[in-house]
Symmetry: C2
Subunit: 456 residues, 2 copies
């Protein structure tokens, strides 16, 4: 495309808001995934909703692709500007607009990260309980419907989004949702924009629900002889009505890597990491119930503590498994999968997945948000193995879909899972396309992501 439009954009904004410097373009050519990169024509740094509106109205008029980005921690290529055009970097829009502890909500701009939000909220004894790991921006978390280790109790990002301000693909500013804690009014556009991966508009303001910080925490570490036993234990725990706050599975490979890299001696078994949150009496009793259920299921150990230092130690292997496995596979690159399946199928799907990796010669480390049926394989590969890796990815996702699951539990579709959307959604994909076409008639919002073009 003719890049003469950039000169016009420069007239709409301040000089430092429009960049075509090679290094800035290169920074915006890709995210954290291993996928290919594409240079945008220009990077724009809006500082307000009005700036975003100017840019979107201009882009709509001229039919220019716009790819929104903030912290850029995406693992799935969401921020790769596939069709060049504008990389719309909202990182300057990172302020709290209004903190209303008496309404248990915070209103902020899209580039605030969730640790920054929590830093703010904790002054009033509140918090936003979604922790996807990377220091992600709230706009990105909403766009992928991110979750993390507390989803088993607190749910996913979408559950906390009360309202959004959006600049639409046609350059209109809309306010969606409400400041009330629930509503049955109008279509639920808020939830439609959660997980839309920037393909339906640009998020310029966010109203988030907050919850009270728990009075006390207790951590536990429970190794099992098999993934199946570990998984059964978790199902029985949830069925028993125990509101466990965190419930993570780490496979034996990962524990071995941690033992080696950090000189530890954890039992080299599949291990469940638990956290209980609540009042001190309540969580003591929950932990006791968990211990009984774990022992009945053949747990190798059950170690638990409320002491802050001991809690960190109990969870150390979970926290450090990424670094340990990267160290164990030094020199290799890695890909992260993100399937989620019905919980009863989780053990079998994880075991089969690891076999599929090993059969094709890839070393894989598994860790999962087991209460949600969501798990990640960290698959290591070397340059040149990408085609084989794609084939493996195909087998893994097919396995999850066959089990009634999804190709992505929390990372989003981005680029690499586009080709599985038809299999996953069937005729519903056409309804999604109708919505995309209705709201973005020129297909300028992050084109080529989330929903595959008709012929794939």
């Amino acid at each position: 495309m003719d890049k003469a439009y950039i000169a016009q954009l420069q007239k709409l904004l301040k000089a430092d808001q429009v960049s075509t410097s090679a290094s800035v373009l290169a920074q915006h050519a890709r995210g954290e995934s291993y996928d290919h990169s594409v240079m945008p024509d220009v990077v724009i740094f809006p500082e307000s909703t009005e700036d975003v509106q100017k840019v979107m109205a201009f882009a709509f008029e001229h039919g220019i692709a716009v790819t929104p980005v903030a912290v850029n921690s995406s693992l799935e290529g969401h921020t790769v500007p596939l069709h060049g055009g504008i990389s719309l970097d909202v990182t300057r829009m990172n302020q709290v607009i209004s903190f209303r502890p008496e309404d248990l909500l915070i209103i902020c701009q899209p580039a605030m990260t969730y640790p920054q939000i929590n830093e703010h909220a904790k002054r009033s004894g509140l918090f936003f309980p979604i922790d996807p790991g990377a220091h992600a921006s709230i706009g990105g978390m909403i766009s992928t419907n991110a979750s993390g280790t507390m989803a088993v109790r607190y749910g996913v990002t979408a559950d906390y989004v009360m309202g959004l301000e959006i600049v639409t693909p046609t350059g209109e500013i809309i306010q969606i949702g409400t400041k009330a804690r629930k509503s049955s009014s109008g279509y639920n556009l808020t939830k439609l924009y959660c997980g839309a991966e920037g393909t339906l508009g640009v998020i310029t303001e966010v109203t988030l629900k907050l919850v009270g910080l728990p009075e006390a925490l207790m951590a536990a570490r429970v190794p099992f002889k098999s993934i199946s036993e570990a998984s059964q234990f978790v199902i029985s725990l949830i069925q028993a009505g125990v509101m466990v706050a965190r419930c993570e599975l780490v496979d034996a490979n990962s524990i071995r890597a941690v033992n080696k890299h950090y000189q530890r001696s954890y039992p080299e078994e599949v291990t469940i990491f638990l956290e209980f949150q609540g009042n001190p009496l309540g969580i003591e009793r929950e932990a006791e119930t968990a211990r009984e259920l774990a022992e009945a299921m053949g747990a190798v150990q059950f170690e638990a503590s409320r002491d802050p230092k001991a809690r960190l130690e109990l969870w150390e292997a979970r926290h450090n498994l990424y670094y340990a496995s990267v160290a164990a596979e030094a020199g290799k690159r890695n890909m992260t999968t993100d399937m989620a399946v019905p919980i009863s199928k989780l053990a079998e799907v994880i075991e089969t997945s690891i076999s599929l990796c090993e059969n094709q010669g890839f070393k894989a480390y598994a860790a999962g948000h087991v209460g949600d049926g969501n798990f990640h394989l960290l698959v290591f590969f070397e340059d040149g193995e990408e085609p084989k890796l794609d084939s493996l990815n195909h087998d893994l996702i097919s396995l999850a879909l066959k089990a009634g699951g999804t190709s992505t539990g929390e990372h989003g579709v981005g680029l690499r899972k586009l080709k599985y959307m038809a299999a996953e959604h069937g005729p519903a994909l056409e309804v999604m396309r109708q919505i995309k076409l209705a709201l973005d008639p020129k297909n300028i919002m992050n084109p080529g992501k989330k929903i595959p073009a008709k012929v794939v």
Copy 2:
């Protein structure tokens, strides 16, 4: 419209699935609201998804309006077949398709009621924690995004809908959502259909998330000298991280009516009804925290118990306020409002609302899901007062919107709130219209509901 199409429909289905009897048509002319009624041309009783598809494909071809209905407990005129056409009564589709306790889910047809679902789930120690009051069908609950007394802890219907089978307005069968407990794949159509009030398609199958039944329950009753103190107490309780399961406000008028009708002697004050759910130790401690906070806020009493019989007695006034107020206003009809506002505004909005009612000569009783900022006024009126009532309703909804709230927290828009959608949603209403037009191009699905036509 020419009703010759009915003969064609009779060929598509069994004889007892198509009715034009006057009494059946009259039963399907209105719901539970006081609004006007309109006769459908024909009532159809599908027995399967295939039946629904046949009807929708036919209706799409011929441009015939279709109004879905099941238990018909709507308070907002959702099931009034405004444009005649087909009343699609799915009450025969009321079976469990699959109960999978190991996956904490149940798959059922749309006319199952939530008490029936819970009857089924409790065999495995599970439950579906949404209780809108009337023995509503799950299809209706999804279509209005119903909630009830446990929303403060467990959320709303939409939070439990993992997936849906929908017959679209063009007669396609689509499966949306997933059997995994979370997903970031595709647009979130499931949540879009939650609260769509039958305007985007017909729900033919539902996959619901279940949760573990709590081990123990504790009830409490806490009268306060003012709505403001009562409301402040609830805010402090949630801020303190207490996961109260139910948290209901009942005004002094209602308590007086209960005392009179049932010969009781409850303190005639605004009263908060609490329920704690969890393990016995945890809820004892939660109740203790609640007592401390209530006393600090000037509560008149704090009575609590875990005993089943005592729990019922503690909550009696809450359970019976409807009957008591109807008895107190014998001979009058009533209208229920459904505003929700940011919690910090709740006390002021309730007080102003009651004044507005009294100033216009209406007796009103207030009860609220105070943890959600959602409250209902039961406003009594006599025949001929409808215009004055409409004017009152306008003032009440304007008040809620001005406070940053919504015209409907859980009952849905239906007919009576259509005229407030432009004020509530602003330019976002046009985006809703674009979605409706894209998915229902002939405007045959429950036309005239949820989203007002362009010129209102």
